[in-house]
Symmetry: C2
Subunit: 115 residues, 2 copies
């Protein structure tokens, strides 16, 4: 039961929902998440760690860069919830706004950002 409440608790914070909303279309580096969310690095990092510990995400380091994506682990509840999130998160204005910001960042893409 503790695993389950942890799954839902992870979804009970705006920043974390926004992160999941950004990762729906595939993995992203922290530097992109920071730009899209327009939040300080420590805030983003803290929430990513929470989502990993709750079982939603997994991270992969590539050099200095850290990428996050939805966890490959799968159980019935998480799979069902993920299906719901995949459609419903995109209906949230804050999430669509983040996607616009991400697109803009990709277009202007500083050379200092990850490959």
């Amino acid at each position: 039961m503790h695993d389950i409440t942890k799954l839902f608790k992870a979804l009970s914070e705006e920043v974390r929902l926004r992160i999941l909303g950004l990762l729906i279309h595939g993995e992203l580096c922290v530097c992109y998440l920071m730009a899209a969310l327009n939040l300080p690095q420590s805030t983003v990092s803290r929430h990513l760690t929470y989502l990993v510990n709750a079982g939603w995400l997994e991270g992969e380091r590539r050099g200095v860069w850290m990428y996050y994506r939805f966890s490959g682990k799968s159980d019935n509840l998480r799979r069902d919830l993920l299906a719901v999130l995949t459609t419903r998160l995109m209906e949230i204005p804050e999430v669509t706004r983040d996607h616009e910001r991400l697109k803009e960042y990709l277009r202007t893409k500083p050379t200092s950002a990850c490959g």
Copy 2:
């Protein structure tokens, strides 16, 4: 966005998931919930109020008795989540145990109980 995080936060506590699990088959009076959950009245009442405020439940008073059921209000996210909960909550041992307790209570059903 605040409504959405509130929905998930409501699901992030064991007692509240257990309450929702008990209400899946239909409305129940608080006295039944207390018996099935085997928890003090104040604890049950507090969580019921939280679930009402989060948008999951609605209550109806009948004399001194208070009945709760899933809210008639419907939006996309809540409807999808409810569909998930309807199947997945019954897979949780604590929830099935509550149902057994409820059945036992119904069988022995003190005359002082509602209905």
